[in-house]
């Protein structure tokens, strides 16, 4: 069915069906194959979302949901065609309740706009994706946000107090305390299980998120960064495990670890005269925030603990990379121009902290096998465990076919090494299907909530995966 035909009767909505406009809706930032949507609807409110859901249901066409489109797992890629819901037009902050410590937003609110609104009240939210200026709150909770975990706040989903979701049959569900009419959002749990969690990281497989309640957090009085160098990933992994075990994370808003190759590349680019022999084999970096005395005390304790594992402060990497990453948010994208290749594939998984060395060794194996690409390994430290990011730089013009094969191979290797699929979308679909009991429950949830398989088919390995296309042409 053509986009123009699909749009009949929806003229009061903002619709795009011109192929020139549809180009931008084919993919996210990932190496997951692009899709080919027939129609894009950009709703302004929840009623318009309901109208589009109803239309997709009547016409039996797939419906994909998109926020900022800055994810790395293909969740917004419309492999089965159909309609894309562009939620970026729903960008109102619905409620700011300082007494309850809750902000309720429409899904299209960008983190930059949210932080701007909260700052005058001395408030912020626990986790902000590194793509914050463009990432939407709805996209972040629907896709479980780019592995942007936090030692203090754990994961994106842990910052969510509740959701409003439209189901495939039009049911408007509010989760947590807001499930009770008139109660509003203040508790993640209502009676029984955590229904909020079903929709976090589901990439719209079970419903369309139309409002998100986030817990507010006071802005820290002081921020500081600290970078520690270690001989290698084994020592760094032991150190991180010790940090988490001692709860030295209460003032750490973000922490990340970088393998030696990444440290080497960044340092030699910024400071070519650096003596290579002095470079650490692994760096663990902290972004601390809190009151001044507490931050200073934790900084001292982290340095002492690092010393117990053969580590020491390595300020040069903090200056040339980590501090810029944390204080200049668009610096996240410096990786794309930093290497000579054209784009970067990112594969996110989770792993226990004591498996850090195995994770790095797995990436080393892939690096040796696919030496045409440039590989990097980094981890995000959570309160418990790590999110492991594998970065693969490639030339999209020449290497599209091989990069997808390489990344799929890396995903298999990571699971074999004990890592866990983390990102939703389509990147890990094959591995999710191999988790038989887990996958079976997901399928039953899907059957119950979206029996026609209309919502985001292919995500989480559920439903008809459709077929992807090549980027560009």
């Amino acid at each position: 069915m053509s986009g123009a035909t699909l749009g009949h009767g929806l003229e009061s909505l903002t619709l795009f069906s011109d192929p020139v406009d549809l180009l931008a809706y084919r993919r996210d930032c990932s190496v997951v194959a692009p899709g080919e949507p027939e129609l894009v609807a950009r709703p302004r409110d929840v009623d318009e979302v309901a109208t589009v859901i109803a239309r997709a249901g009547r016409e039996r066409v797939p419906l994909y949901v998109r926020g900022g489109g800055s994810m790395y797992a293909g969740g917004v890629n419309p492999h089965a065609g159909g309609i894309v819901l562009d939620m970026a037009g729903m960008d109102r902050i619905l409620e700011l309740d300082l007494a309850r410590g809750i902000v309720v937003v429409e899904p299209g609110v960008r983190f930059g706009a949210l932080l701007e609104a909260l700052a005058p009240h001395g408030q912020t939210v626990g986790i902000v994706p590194l793509t914050g200026p463009t990432a939407t709150v709805g996209g972040a909770v629907s896709a479980h946000a780019l592995g942007s975990g936090s030692p203090r706040h754990q994961s994106m989903g842990d910052c969510v107090a509740g959701l409003e979701v439209l189901l495939a049959d039009g049911t408007r569900l509010r989760t947590g305390s807001a499930a009770c009419a008139g109660a509003g959002f203040f508790q993640r749990y209502c009676i029984g299980p955590d229904l909020t969690g079903i929709f976090l990281g589901a990439d719209a497989s079970f419903g369309v998120v139309t409002a998100v309640a986030l817990w507010l957090v006071p802005l820290p009085a002081v921020r500081d960064t600290l970078t520690l160098g270690f001989a290698g990933a084994s020592a760094a992994g032991e150190f991180v495990t010790a940090v988490q075990g001692r709860e030295l994370t209460r003032n750490v808003w973000y922490a990340a670890g970088y393998e030696g190759a990444t440290v080497h590349a960044r340092m030699m680019q910024a400071e070519p005269a650096t003596d290579r022999a002095t470079l650490p084999g692994f760096c663990v970096c902290f972004d601390l925030g809190g009151d001044g005395d507490a931050v200073a005390a934790d900084r001292t304790r982290l340095l002492e603990l690092a010393g117990d594992h053969g580590g020491a402060e390595y300020a040069p990497f903090d200056a040339v990379y980590f501090r810029r990453l944390r204080y200049d948010e668009s610096y996240w994208y410096s990786f794309a121009g930093y290497f000579s290749r054209s784009r970067c594939a990112i594969l996110m998984s989770s792993l226990p902290s004591d498996r850090l060395a195995d994770f790095v060794a797995t990436v080393d194996t892939q690096r040796a096998q696919w030496s045409d690409f440039l590989w990097g390994a980094a981890v995000v430290v959570c309160r418990r465990g790590l999110h492991g990011g594998v970065l693969v730089f490639y030339d999209e013009r020449r290497e599209w076919d091989t990069i997808t094969t390489a990344v799929d191979g890396a995903a298999e290797a990571l699971v074999a090494a004990g890592c866990v699929p983390y990102k939703s979308g389509k990147q890990w679909a094959a591995q999710v299907r191999d988790m038989h009991a887990y996958s079976s429950v997901l399928e039953r949830l899907k059957s119950a909530l979206d029996p026609a398989g209309m919502l985001a088919p292919g995500n989480l390995g559920l439903g008809d995966p459709g077929r992807g296309a090549r980027p560009g042409g």
């Binding site: 931008a24 930032c29 489109g69 700052a119 463009t134 410096s334």
Partner: protein, 384 residues
Amino acid sequence: MSRTLTLPAWLDERFGADLYHCASCNYCVDAVWPERGLHHVCATLEHHSPAPGYSGRGFIDTARALLEGVALDADSVAERVFTCTTCGNCETSCPIGLRPAAIGGALREVLLAADVLPAPVRATRGRIVERGGATEAVAGPWHAPAAAPGDSLAIFAGCAARADGGPATPLARWLEAAGFTLAWQDDGARCCGAPLAELGAAREAGAWRDGLLHDGAAPRVVLGYECLNHLRAGGHADVRSLPAWLDDGLAGGTLALVLRDDVAVPRVRLIESCQLKPRPQRAAGDDERRARDLLARLGVIDDAGAYPNPHALCCGAAGGMPAVAPHSASRMAAARLAGDADALAVTLDARCAAHLARSGTREVTDFASFLARYTRLTRVATAA
């Protein structure tokens, strides 16, 4: 029947790296990051249509698709590419330095060569060619030839400054009152070609520029910023803007500037002009700062810290927007003028000022007119 478009090899050679380095981050579509002055990126998306085909990313996606052989309707491409203010926010916000605005400009060149132009663009181009400039020039004392040898100041006004209500005439009187003898680099109504360049006619615009300066007498002070950028892009490195000339004179002690005491001087709110944003080959990268500091020294602005924002949304004056989408251009102007209604809105570029004034929401003037109306300039005698 729809027409399709084939891109020439030069576009791939010039921009191929940009097309394949785009990480689809969407900074050029919409981004909000207050610390960086980013509060949405694209005036066209905000006030005309949110369809991404109008965005910088849209231009990248379109060019790449066309290069890879995707059949896109040429008229659809043209409608989107020409409904761009060419403000360059998509480039200044790109975290890896890609050039979506330049790609949009290249697409305009290709569409012009293929004779695929939206009707308003075709009409606008026709008017520019027919009358020799973007606006009807107004005759006046300011474009009389220099009265005396040994000219002390050579000026090129530009179309917007010469238009009815533009700053050329009051500025001339202001300068002459200070004792300057003016030599207007102008044959009465000659255009440097900048408006044609905006519409994608780079070669034709270059010929106009070269024809204007055939005698080698490069104008020294240029009032219009689109003119200044166009002249600089053509290699005329010696042209200067009015704020730069004035600021240098004040700093060097050869000029003195005071507020007039016979008129009530309003508080000023400065409005950024896209033509002054830092982009390659642009001369006026720090003019807004210099003008802000100058007005702050005069004590007429109290929001100096907020200006200039390098990512301020376009007022809709540039790129052909007023002709292609006049209602959207008006909405852009009204949005730029919202707030602080008690202050006089001042912008450095005469074209922006004229466009903003047409929105009718408040009084607007340009920097040169403000100086002429509210200040007194004197030349300071220096020891030889």
